[in-house]
Symmetry: C2
Subunit: 278 residues, 2 copies
Amino acid sequence: MSEPVQPSRLSVNQETVKQWSLPELAEGCAKEGIGAVGLWRAPVQEYGVERAARLMRDTGLTVTSLCRGGFLTDIEEASRARALDDNRAAVDEAAALGTDTLVLVSGGLPPGSKDLVGARERVADALAVLGPYAEERGVRLAIEPLHPMFASDRCVVSTLGQALDLAERFPAHQVGVVVDTYHVWWDDLAPAQIARAGQGGRLHAFQLADWITPLPAGVLLGRGQLGDGCVDFRAFRAAVDAAGHRGPIEVEIFNEGLWARDGGEVLRETAERFRAHA
Amino acid sequence: MSEPVQPSRLSVNQETVKQWSLPELAEGCAKEGIGAVGLWRAPVQEYGVERAARLMRDTGLTVTSLCRGGFLTDIEEASRARALDDNRAAVDEAAALGTDTLVLVSGGLPPGSKDLVGARERVADALAVLGPYAEERGVRLAIEPLHPMFASDRCVVSTLGQALDLAERFPAHQVGVVVDTYHVWWDDLAPAQIARAGQGGRLHAFQLADWITPLPAGVLLGRGQLGDGCVDFRAFRAAVDAAGHRGPIEVEIFNEGLWARDGGEVLRETAERFRAHA
């Protein structure tokens, strides 16, 4: 068993308290003594990227990652060009917010396609373009494997093994991976792949959410608060720590039950659960 | 590309036309020229095992598998004993029906447990008891890896790799695996594991269903008719054929839309889709 987690490693992804505006998030984190957050592009754009960056600086919050770029599996040339443009914008936004990590969700199969291998190759083609662009701006791309239940409609990269196979075609300071317990908890190969990511300097982000059932329709909003499900967070943190990750640990939970509650209460509970389980 | 499938390899799992009684299934298969079926324990028990066996013999139907034994992950001694008894009964039923293949679904995590490795070990302990029992009755146990979205509540064996790691601790004529496209279609390691299963003589059953989204709540009844989703069946059959499997190919679809339709129409469509896509 590893030692209890250092509370200061907690970063709260803003989707966990989606009911909050950015200023509410900043104020809530200050109250709870939380020094880091993960942000999402849509609410940041809505608030204004520069304005959000200023808010983070003024309140002393570290931005540990920006979610998300990606969706790079389209076949048609015009859609591919649009996706690349959008990802360049995401890199710019990450740089403006002062985070070095842009999370990428690969994208699913194009309509009518059954070709997972081809789709993964198109992701690689896009990384070859985006990696150098990101490097110039001090941003690392972090491929997030999503649970295999999202393989067709959201992310053709389903395991850490696949994510590393992709990432290792590029320099580690350009492309790495995200370890999100919700997506990889079931995989007996995950511990070895976490070690592989660490050895290669590619473990760019570590995120926590618990696995609970029954899954809701569409399965996107089925994540559980830490401790409500069956993920062994302590074991994952031990593996990630052993792989040399010393950075923040983001809690990212999409759950309508949490969003319906008072944000301050959810944030306090999340910090408590983090100390108890992570 | 492989050759079109031999139509005679089609076996229709009775859950695909769950709206039908066993005599309706037998009659429907006769009409469509389908010579093989996969059966489930509950409807067979309800009809009577001996009576079902007689019906299959009298109508000349081959039973390609019985679903399902398993649920071997309980910790408590009394529950484990009950599970073993139930699996011995399942073996007896398979033997009575004249099928050599009993499909096993391992079971999920016991309430409160986060220990996937321990749960898989308890499955192995049970296989050590059930394998010889099955062998004496001419039945092979076939471990079915279920999609990782079922890992917590239904089946701690999520990949063909894990299933073979378990199976290979026992003689191949006692324990093998099921390749069900619905569960493994997303896995880039599946083709190599199919070859491994073939080399070891452990590819005991091959089942087809398509992957469609959005998934319904609970995700159990989300399977698609062949051709409605994104599974490349031809590629899977090529891999399975190359691994030396010459046996039946079962179509097993849990889908309330199919169950709401006329059984004869669904059976005809299934046979057509099988010829077009398998």
